[in-house]
Symmetry: C2
């Protein structure tokens, strides 16, 4: 038998969401008549916007004609989409991007998972805690960590706890990291970073020769003025940061698959003997070697969200979700919970009552209220004692879920 990559065996049992699915399945089999409300996984529920459907339909028909057929596209993305992204997502923020700095992909999960490949095997990694599990797991698989300890922390990984005590703003690591994963608006806590805070991170990265991997998949949910939507709003960020964006939550593309990353030309890495290397060129090499571009019809669908009508429709969906977030947030506060997030993000983060563990609260909520949420500890050790509810459900379900939780 061939030898396997043993780093995989360091991974803790199962990815978070399959484990939730397993517990829910066991419960439903025991209680076949109970109406379970799912506010766990961050999946959208509203249908695709009419503009998006129109674009899918017309580009699909186009693909059925000799003149309109598209085979392999440019791995980096079609120019029409790259331009739409630069013009609509960045230009209004005062951020000027060249099309060659944008790489379209089939999802932020893939981008966040794959980006580590272009860095050194012994790169030191700093991650927020709690955090989207993909950042950690993909570095474990790559062998950049040791085993997980009894506290759930992997050896040789720098954890930056974000808790109520520090206002969910991770402190700078004590040890110098090569790569720093930051996510704002944050999944799972729903909290944001101020311009001052991001400015300090950019300065820190410059001083320490670190690269920031900035996940802003939820920027479309920011409602308060002054909150930065892109790290490139900060001066100097082009020299130290890669940004991840997604159409999944912004435009309900979880089932269509489209995202992108931005790697500015100024961003450089180095070899051990000091030779400078363009990070964008390295990524381009990975992207063209292991990926063959996003479906033409999907890119046409993504382009459609930038039309005036598309923007209006997307805005309406986001407003619907954020109205849910408000209902959850205010309902839980009224019910006496300690609640965070839900203002600039579709996630509500709460402290479990009576110091229950995250999974105990999960089981209790499932058993007593038939509501499914996500245990905070699934996002990292510092998430223990917290719990995430998602605002992506249907309004009636959200109201019923809050009624049930309040009645506990």
């Amino acid at each position: 038998m061939a030898n396997i990559n043993e780093n995989y065996l360091k991974l803790k049992a199962g990815y978070l969401f399959p484990e939730i699915a397993r517990r829910v399945k066991v419960y439903s089999e025991k209680h076949p008549n109970s109406k379970i409300i799912r506010l766990g996984i961050g999946d959208v529920t509203l249908p695709l916007a009419p503009s998006v459907v129109d674009a899918l339909v017309s580009s699909s028909k186009e693909m059925g004609t000799p003149e309109g057929f598209h085979g392999y596209g440019p791995e980096q993305g079609y120019s029409f989409l790259l331009k739409a992204i630069a013009d609509n997502d960045y230009a209004p923020l005062g951020v000027k991007l060249d099309e060659s700095e944008i790489f379209v992909s089939d999802g932020s999960k893939c981008d966040c998972g794959n980006i580590q490949e272009i860095f050194s095997q012994d790169a030191k990694i700093a991650i927020g805690d709690p955090v989207y599990p993909v950042y950690v797991d993909t570095n474990v698989m790559a062998g950049r960590t040791g085993e997980a300890g009894p506290d759930g922390r992997y050896a040789n990984l720098i954890y930056m706890p974000s808790t109520k005590e520090n206002g969910f703003q991770p402190d700078f690591p004590k040890e110098r990291p090569d790569l720093i994963y930051l996510c704002f608006p944050n999944n799972p806590t729903g909290t944001v970073a101020s311009k001052e805070s991001l400015k300090a991170w950019v300065e820190y990265a410059k001083k320490n020769n670190s690269i920031i991997l900035y996940d802003s998949a939820y920027e479309a949910f920011i409602s308060e003025p002054g909150v930065p939507r892109s790290i490139y709003e900060i001066e100097g960020a082009r020299e130290v940061a890669i940004e991840f964006r997604s159409f999944s939550k912004t435009a309900g593309f979880t089932g269509l698959r489209c995202a992108y990353i931005v790697i500015p030309k100024e961003l450089k890495g180095k070899t051990k003997d000091g030779q400078e290397v363009s990070i964008g060129q390295l990524w381009s090499r990975r992207h063209t070697t292991k990926f063959n571009g996003v479906s033409y019809v999907t890119q046409k669908a993504a382009e459609a969200i930038y039309s005036p009508q598309g923007k209006k429709e997307i805005r309406a969906s986001i407003d619907t979700y954020m109205a849910n977030a408000k209902l959850i947030r205010e309902g839980l506060i009224k019910a006496g919970f300690d609640v965070f997030g839900g203002v600039n993000a579709p996630y509500i983060w709460l402290k479990t009552p009576n110091n229950l563990s995250s999974w105990d609260f999960f089981d209790q909520l499932l058993d007593k209220a038939q509501v499914v949420g996500t245990p905070g500890s699934g996002f990292g050790p510092a998430g223990e004692g917290y719990f995430r509810l998602s605002a992506f459900g249907k309004k009636d379900d959200v109201i019923e879920a809050i009624r049930r939780i309040s009645a506990l």
Copy 2:
């Protein structure tokens, strides 16, 4: 600056196809009025089949309704597609697959590139030569090879030359490999392996505890009876082989992106201390952690090729390409070339005349006949002195290309 993955710097200048594109661009800029015929890159040219377009259109409309919307799907693929694959691609060959043994992805390039991740860092790799460059490049990036030598061969990689002399059937490696990449019908040579030959490979893999990575992306082009379409037609292959399949060439999905791999339950790897590990489970962990499934509309499109009408339409496209292959093959033979492939594969492989190097013949063909092909040396050192023409062009272009080549 953060340290980079220096293995990337071992890669030879640029992936093959971008280099071809660059030379063609230079030529067209110098000769703006010349009509260039492209038989280089293996991209399809016929439009999507009507059944596929219908499925795309109806599933896109479905995604615009509250009842028909699909968000995150199962990472492994929807059951409707897994079942269609098992029932149509394998059951008729007498191969019984469980749905859990099939993993749908967004392309064979990704699957072939990613599969190496689940194996040991020091796994010894054997590859056919010439071969699809992705197998080699992704192992270089992962650090499993040394530098490339002056002959273009990377150190610490086992090359298995396939040339006219051995009938394009690679010999068994002299040194034991952990992983053996095989591709039949072969890209680029267009040749196939007999049942006896595959049987010998399965026995070899068993005896040497190796795993065969069997790329059969072109099986739909097999026209001769008795040529194996799947390695699982060979007894015992379930214990030693992973199979890669793609909708790209079969159904013209190069611009839609859908493929799959098969990992039988019997396939095991091991840790260095001898613990047995399921390869399917390892891949599942990778797939669920770094990938979020293929678009629902694309999976519905893929399902449509298995309907009676879909099958008829797909067959017609393949017949068109194979008629091109026949034209090229027979035209070149008539013109005095030494020609291989083109019978069970959409690729024609030829010996360059007058012992020209592959790239010299490329430049000559571009300059004198305005025909673009692919230099054999781009597929590996043993491809030097050979040249690939693809049958995916339009019939009129193919006829004109052969006319021009014959006139040289």
